[in-house]
């Protein structure tokens, strides 16, 4: 898995990039473009925009490689770049409508339109979460990382990841419920 690659290996690749060997960046792109794309796609809800955003994140990362903390995983760093790009894009969009009654209806319908609407509201509520809570939801559900991978990416114990995830989900639901009221 992409997050099981050693940080030392990544440091070496980054070092080669900084020394002028741009080809050393390719293994990093191959390793991380998929989870980053997933995060962008889930946050933005648009595949094409997600591809653009992923590409932008890699280009910005390459240009700023010297500022990457080698003690942390490259993924943690570029994830932050991507997340900021996505959040900026989401904030630039026009404000969304209020929550209608369809979400609170007793039906368990999986109508794609309804599901899409729910997903859009969840994304909106996600922006209101504290960063630490938002990160665990994005990495766990959107990037589809396992707990230990989220732990590695954020540099916090797995127990903390689980605890934050519980709080984040609860807060997210409270925000959605409050929006309806």
């Amino acid at each position: 898995m992409y997050l099981q690659v050693g940080a030392e290996d990544e440091s070496e690749l980054i070092g080669r990039c900084l020394a002028g060997d741009s080809s050393a960046f390719e293994p990093l792109v191959e390793r991380y473009h998929r989870p980053l794309y997933r995060v962008a796609a889930r946050l933005l809800g648009d595949q094409e925009e997600a591809r653009d955003m992923t590409q932008t994140a890699f280009l910005k990362a390459y240009q700023s490689l010297a500022t990457c903390d080698p003690e942390r995983r490259f993924f943690s760093w570029i994830y932050r770049i991507l997340l900021n790009e996505c959040l900026n894009a989401l904030r630039a969009r026009r404000p969304m409508q209020g929550l209608d009654d369809s979400m609170a209806a007793p039906s368990r319908s999986v109508d794609p339109i309804e599901a899409g609407e729910t997903s859009r509201r969840v994304r909106k509520a996600l922006l209101k979460l504290p960063e630490a809570q938002r990160d665990v939801i994005v990495l766990r559900y959107f990037a589809e990382l396992r707990y230990e991978q989220v732990s590695a990416a954020l540099g916090v114990p797995e127990k903390t990841v689980k605890s934050r995830l519980f709080s984040a989900r609860q807060r997210l639901c409270e925000l959605l419920a409050a929006e309806r009221v």
Binding site: L59, Y62, A66, P106, A115, T118, Q170, C173, A177
Partner: protein, 485 residues
Amino acid sequence: MLARDEFELLRRHQDGELLPAEVARVEALIAGRPEARIAAAALRSLGEPGPIGEPGAPAVMEIMARVRALPRPAASGWTRASQGISRAIGRTVNAVAGPGSRVEESMSSRSKIVWGISSAAVVVLASLWMVGVIPPVNQGADATIGAAKRYQAPQIAAKDVKLGDTEAQAFMQSETFDRMLKDPNTRKMLASVEMRNMLATPGLNAALTNTSFALALQKIAGDANLAKMFADQELTASLADAKVSAALTDADMHAALADNAFEAALSQTAVRAALADSAVHAAFADSNLVAAFGKGHIQQALKSEQFRAGLAQGQFSASLQSQFKTAFDDADLQAALSRNEVRSALATASMQAALSRQEMQAAFASLAVRSALADANVRAALTNAQFMDALAEAELRSSLKGAAVSGALAAQQLSAALSTELRSYFGQAAIQSAFSNAAMRDTLASAQFAAAVQSAAFQSALRDAGFASALQQSSFASALAKADQ
């Protein structure tokens, strides 16, 4: 508002973890509570993969094509990182030394402490450099303290360095920092005048802009044993020492730190134990000893693995605190200690036991004995190869370990003898040769000789020029040995 257990129930429902008996409860919850329906929908939405597609392999090629078109990434962050450290230290100096400043107001007390501790670590580093724990670069393998392979390690890379406020925050969240914070000694030390003076020294500021220092600080902070040193009150007394400041700006020191040698040193259990020993702290804090250790020969001695192992022994390090350490500030004695034989002797358990004996320390504390050690002839003896070979012999060390001999050394008459006539004979080749004689060593180690040494008659004889002259004769030593048998 959903209760915690209700929310957990919905979460488990979404994750398919419900027990059959719980299904009805969840259904009732969703049916009766709008907020439960919203939560269930949100959880379902989070868990659904959604039609997001795949980025596809061409995405990598597209990204790389654009990457190759970009100019080479900007210069290394090391310079910026150094500036970051400098800024942080600047804040610390203002915060600690400049009460009432705006910077101080904006800086949390925890931040003050974390940088204060780092600054204390710099003093530790300077001490380590001066005493030779951090070896100079380009030295031979025989002068290293670890396995030769350690010194073939690659140069410290950028990945080894943590710098900036982010790292300071991470350190502040560490267990090591919590331990330090709770330590009353640490708090007292950071409030000390010495610490404030040290923080204001240009040498410290210059040192902290060096990335090698940042690395070393990181390693120190991560080591529990070394962390104990930060709280040591006696160590802070050495902060004002000009030599410490000078060491901080030493380019060779920076180069040595960048040579991975420091990490290798810290990887040695014996070294860490020695550095954590309160007696060693006291020794480092002693300006005479530090001055002595700052000289090349002492550094060489300290680089001996055997000597370090000896240093890690509590008894030996305790002996460093005794008054004889002032005698170390002498070129000839340092030359003696640079000899392998002496270092080996000092590293032995019997020698350490001898040095740790109260009587032996009393002897060294005696002005007469110290005066003797300061005598050029005695020191010359210590630099004599044969004499040192003798010192390395087990028999002679055994004799020193004995209560009778050390008691005799502490006796006033013998001290007096050592302070006057006898010492001059130590400088003579014949006497030194006598000590290298196996028979003489056997004699010195014997119980009878020890008893004789204690006698007033013998000590009186020592003060006699004729007797001392006889000691020069090898036949006398042989006779003495035979008489002993």
